[in-house]
């Protein structure tokens, strides 16, 4: 192999320095987002807003509006929609959440009693081969989770207020100048990786955008069907339960189960009849069947093609690293990693015919 000439060596050094500068800038940006309080959640919700509104902003720009006006108009509509939603649903939601908090002690006692009953049954079945102590093991845990949830509620609400102000602000500038910013960042990439970076950026933003839009539509439909089902059944806290289940539905496999648990707990605490429990099971079951058979194959699966084992492992790692937020964002993060690694692999191994 030929030795590189002096000018080639200078080019190699320059490229390495540029790559290092680019990676350092990227790392600083990520660290800033990760470690500044409230910024990660604000950034993620701004990203969701960006991908949700970008098609309508582009549509208006296509029809002759300037980018600035095309960005302002959907924000005005979004603000109006939020005001109407708050006016229509928040009093109901607050009342239901308040009532849920008041009755939380009752529901926790039911959960504790349920654990004792399960323990008893298991004890009879295993006949003291294994000593099972579910009640003493899990009850303090459940009480501690519940009390910390209600204790942290005010802090969580103040955090939400910060996010609620910061996130639209970030989303607005993402829509207005986001592409220029990304172009500026990609401009720092050395020449030998430039085309790859550009192509990756296009693929990743295409995939994340599609994924976020698909997941939001899916969650909205799941939440709507559940709310209607619970409302028709005359079940208490229909709105809160539907909202909770639709949010958790974003987590694959585990989300729908955790999302359904509070409803069953409430039904059992209120001394629900077997018919009521069966109806509840049918409602959640039908919505899950619609989700699995119709929504996921048509909306989500086409966009993120991940193996079920990868999905489960990602959820476990996500939950260990960042809790519920980690479980929600792990799938898009893993799909981005998949696209990136596939493109890098192709770039380094398959560049010649």
């Amino acid at each position: 192999m030929l030795e590189p000439t002096r000018s080639q060596r200078a080019i190699i050094i320059e490229r390495r320095v540029k790559l290092l500068a680019f990676l350092c800038s990227l790392a600083s940006l990520f660290s800033f987002i990760l470690f500044v309080p409230n910024l990660l959640v604000s950034f993620l919700s701004a990203l969701v807003t960006y991908f949700l509104l970008a098609p309508s902003v582009d549509y208006m720009e296509r029809h002759g509006l300037s980018r600035l006006f095309a960005t302002i108009i959907p924000f005005l509509f979004l603000t109006l929609a939020m005001v109407i939603t708050i006016y229509l649903f928040v009093p109901d939601l607050a009342q239901q959440a308040g009532s849920l908090q008041e009755n939380s002690q009752k529901y926790l006692e039911t959960a504790s009693a349920l654990l004792s009953r399960v323990e008893e049954q298991i004890g009879v079945m295993l006949n003291s081969v294994f000593k099972v102590d579910l009640h003493n093991q899990f009850s303090p845990q459940i009480y501690s989770w519940a009390s910390s949830f209600f204790k942290q509620l005010p802090a969580w609400i103040s955090k939400s207020a910060t996010v609620l102000i910061l996130s639209p602000f970030l989303a607005f500038f993402m829509l207005l100048n986001g592409r220029e910013f990304v172009r500026l960042l990609i401009g720092m990439v050395p020449n030998n990786f430039f085309e790859l970076a550009l192509s990756l950026n296009y693929q990743i933003s295409h995939q994340i955008g599609g994924f976020i839009r698909a997941r939001l539509i899916e969650s909205f439909i799941v939440g709507l069907f559940l709310w209607l089902g619970l409302l028709i059944m005359g079940f208490p806290f229909a709105l809160v339960l539907a909202l909770f289940a639709s949010l958790l539905n974003i987590i694959p496999y585990l989300g729908p189960i955790i999302g359904a648990l509070p409803a069953f707990l409430i039904a059992m605490t209120n001394g629900g009849s077997p018919t009521e429990l069966l109806t509840l099971f049918t409602i959640y079951g039908i919505v899950q069947v619609i989700d699995t058979v119709v929504l996921v194959p048509f909306l989500v699966a086409k966009i993120v093609n991940l193996h079920p084992v990868t999905v489960v492992l990602s959820i476990i790692i996500g939950s260990q690293l960042m809790g519920i937020l980690g479980m929600i964002i792990c799938i898009p993060v893993v799909s981005v990693l998949k696209v990136t690694s596939a493109a890098l692999y192709r770039h380094f191994t398959d560049f010649r015919t």
């Binding site: 000439t5 000018s7 080639q8 200078a10 080019i11 320059e14 582009d58 720009e61 296509r62 592409r179 220029e180 172009r183 990609i186 401009g187 020449n191 030998n192 430039f194 085309e195 550009l198 192509s199 950026n201 296009y202 192709r346 560049f351 010649r352 015919t353």
Partner: protein, 174 residues
């Protein structure tokens, strides 16, 4: 001998110009209005290359085209020498300020570069890539159509030239 495929048939005279003027004087973008050029100006990527630096290599997956803003670019094709069986870089042509190359990648899906482009002197290139074409078509479809029509013309002209050359070679052979 310069290769006819790589010859720029659509070269315009190019002196000291701004980015917008350089884009306007290019065959692909000459039909764009002022506002469309302003949008394009914000979308394209300006890149600098050192003498001897690879812009792309034969066999790489192409993602777009380059317009030469400053400097000279050499185009090489890797050939196998029949006697030795060793690969050898054959110089095909030299492209100057105002020329453009790599345009086939704009319409190909994962198409490979058919030659290697190397900066001869300090070179400034204006990169226009598939993602940029998609963005411009999404934000201003009229501009997208104008660019695509001109691109079609370029590719059609190259095909016509190729066909004429093949016919000529066949005639010589028979």
């Amino acid at each position: 001998m310069p290769n006819f495929i790589w010859e720029n048939l659509f070269r315009n005279s190019n002196s000291e110009q701004t980015l917008r003027q350089k884009l306007k004087s290019n065959f692909l973008f000459q039909d764009l209005s002022l506002s469309q050029l302003t949008l394009l100006e914000r979308i394209v990527n300006v890149r600098s290359y050192r003498p001897g630096e690879n812009i792309f290599r034969q066999g790489d997956i192409g993602v777009g085209m380059y317009l030469i803003s400053e400097g000279i670019v050499n185009i090489y094709v890797e050939e196998i020498v029949p006697e030795t069986g060793e690969p050898k870089m054959a110089h095909v042509t030299q492209l100057k300020e105002g020329d453009f190359f790599g345009d086939l990648a704009l319409v190909q899906e994962n198409g490979r570069r058919s030659a290697t482009a190397i900066a001869h002197k300090d070179v400034v290139l204006i990169g226009f890539f598939k993602s940029d074409l998609m963005e411009i078509a999404g934000r201003n479809p009229t501009a997208g159509v104008k660019i695509l029509l001109r691109l079609g013309e370029v590719l059609g002209e190259r095909l016509r030239e190729t066909t004429a050359k093949i016919t000529e070679l066949k005639k010589k052979g028979s």
